[in-house]
């Protein structure tokens, strides 16, 4: 930003050991004068001379000006000069004395960390986060087991609320996106299949890819962005405003109150959403197959029945609870890690979404390896 125009500060050197200051020696008026002050030399050969700093035409001075002046005096002093202030307006005297009264903090700035140090710190942070996540997982598992043992202690109201907000409210967006994915798959395949006259195989393609991979993965990613982030933001804000601490002192375990309902709700809801995504995705593909490839609905369903086994469907649906667990745990964990203020809430929310999506895709890859090992 441009500094505002002011009667800026100036310094002239009428004789080698006299300096005349003028103008506004204020934060806004000084501009880049400090460079000039730093390089200014006073009769270098003759040490032990008096240097006169004349301030008679200084119009104003503030702490920044005083600070600069003091630094300059200090430098001259170290070079062996004696400094005399002359002609300063008495109304500046209190300010001029201020620097000597309360000397500044020795600005012990920690030296910028080296690349090596940064790698170490990052590794340490990642390690801490991993152990943190692991212990959070443990705590949650213990709480989950104990509340399954005593089902009356489960909080049904928040569970139902979460089912609604993470599940029912997500239906339109998941439906629309799945439908579009189905359309895109069929459309992309249409050209290739037509070349070989294998139009009918569009049912295999859409069915298998949707049911096994796209539906569970897409649903999980949308829910991670929608609900995982909301979990992190909610718990994060609560911990910033001491609500979590209040909960603990009231004898309500936050994990039972905040985490379990979310995990349970998401584990119930994500498979259902995945099924919804399956239906809409296949429907999208079906529609495209008819308009692009001339495969009618009946033919499509007929082929779909033969091509896609129940196993493929179950594999897709089976992944969903695992993804749900990942999303809910990561979201809540990042929420609890929030410390400090608004800034931290934002950061943890971002981290929760990135980590949840990352882990969901990694888990999906692991599933693929696993299923190929057992020939499914």
């Amino acid at each position: 930003m441009k500094p505002l125009p002011r009667a800026s500060a100036a310094i002239v050197q009428p004789t080698p050991n006299e300096l005349a200051l003028s103008g506004q020696w204020t934060a806004l008026g000084i501009g880049t004068l400090d460079h000039q002050l730093n390089t200014l030399t006073v009769s270098p050969k003759a040490a032990n001379t008096d240097v006169i700093v004349d301030g008679s035409s200084v119009e104003g001075i503030d702490t920044v000006g005083v600070w600069l002046l003091q630094k300059f005096q200090q430098r001259l002093h170290n070079e062996g000069h004696r400094v005399q202030l002359r002609g300063w307006n008495p109304r500046f005297s209190k300010l001029l004395a201020l620097v000597n009264e309360s000397p500044a903090a020795p600005t012990q700035l920690s030296p910028p960390s080296t690349a090596f140090e940064k790698i170490g710190l990052d590794a340490k942070a990642i390690g801490e986060q991993m152990t943190g996540l692991l212990s959070f997982l443990g705590e949650t598992a213990v709480a989950l087991v104990s509340s399954i043992a005593h089902p009356t202690r489960l909080r049904w109201r928040p569970i139902l609320h979460n089912i609604r907000s993470a599940g029912f409210d997500a239906l339109p967006i998941i439906g629309l996106l799945s439908f579009l994915i189905g359309v895109v798959i069929a459309y992309q395949a249409a050209d290739q299949l037509r070349q070989y006259g294998a139009n009918i195989f569009v049912a295999d393609l859409v069915g298998l890819s949707m049911l096994r991979e796209f539906a569970p993965l897409m649903t999980a990613i949308i829910v991670a962005g929608r609900s995982g982030s909301a979990y992190a933001a909610q718990i994060g804000t609560m911990s910033v405003t001491e609500e979590i601490d209040a909960m603990r002192t009231l004898g309500i375990p936050p994990i039972e109150m905040l985490v379990l309902p979310k995990i349970i709700a998401l584990i119930i809801v994500l498979p259902l959403l995945t099924f919804f995504s399956d239906v809409l995705g296949v429907f999208g593909g079906m529609l495209m197959a008819r308009t692009e490839l001339g495969v009618g609905f009946e033919e499509f369903i007929d082929r779909f029945d033969k091509a896609v086994s129940v196993t493929a469907y179950l594999i897709g649906i089976g992944k969903a609870p695992v993804f749900a667990g990942i999303i809910a745990i990561v979201g809540c964990f990042q929420g609890f890690r929030t410390q400090g203020g608004a800034d931290s809430v934002g950061r943890q929310t971002t981290t929760s979404v990135v980590q949840a999506i990352f882990l969901v895709i990694v888990a999906d890859a692991l599933f693929s390896v696993l299923f190929s090992l057992v020939h499914l």
């Binding site: 000084i30 702490t63 920044v64 600070w67 630094k71 000397p103 903090a105 012990q108 203020g341």
Partner: protein, 271 residues
Amino acid sequence: MSDRADAKTVIDINHVATRFGEHVVHTDVNLQVQQGEIFALVGGSGSGKSTLLREMIMLQQPDSGSIKILGADLQSLDEEQAKALRLRIGVMFQHGGLFGSLDVRENIGLPLREHTALDDALIDEIAAWKLVLAGLAPETATQYPPELSGGMLKRASLARSLALDPELLFLDEPTAGLDPASANGVDELVLKLRELFGLTIVMITHDLDLLWHVADRVAVLGEGKVQGIGSMAELSKMTHPTIRQFFDGPRGRAAAYISDKQSKEQTWKQK
């Protein structure tokens, strides 16, 4: 600084009226603050002191009436003039208003970095010095606001409001939520600032000690108007119920008693 001498009245509020929908906050507020004064604004909750403060620091506009700050009429300012005026005003918010993503030194240096052409290194030095002036330990420089205690937060916020050496300083509840020792520290700090920089200070406070010992003049807001204005000693003789609540009741009497005793001790010493 040159234009200080001719402008003796720093704040001039005339016939200010404010309402939020049906709710009337101010009907007719008039008050003047002189240069170099420590002026306190008191009133019960809902009396509109925070609204008046927000109007004075250009965060809100009154519905009618005029407010002049440092000789400038707030209604008729354009963007540039408003900015120039803002640079001459410092504000310490009740909860600090420090930026959580910056450490204390960066918070204090931010106005300098934004509005001046000074070097980064120099700004850091000055910020560290302001920190010490505000009574904070040098180690606080690299801490982040959430790590600070309430008293430290207020001091850091004060240091930031002083970054550009304002001529006029607004303090919103400078001692609220502080322990007595820290509150005393703030009392002294306010007095020291006035002495050093010749600042005009306007504060909102309920702290009776601060009112008795630090404030030169106090304005009591109530029912949309200034109900009384003067030093605490003068106000204590007034009979308006809004004013009485600051003197009657155990707290009011205790603060008045201590203040009275101290002034007597001082006169004895002088004799």
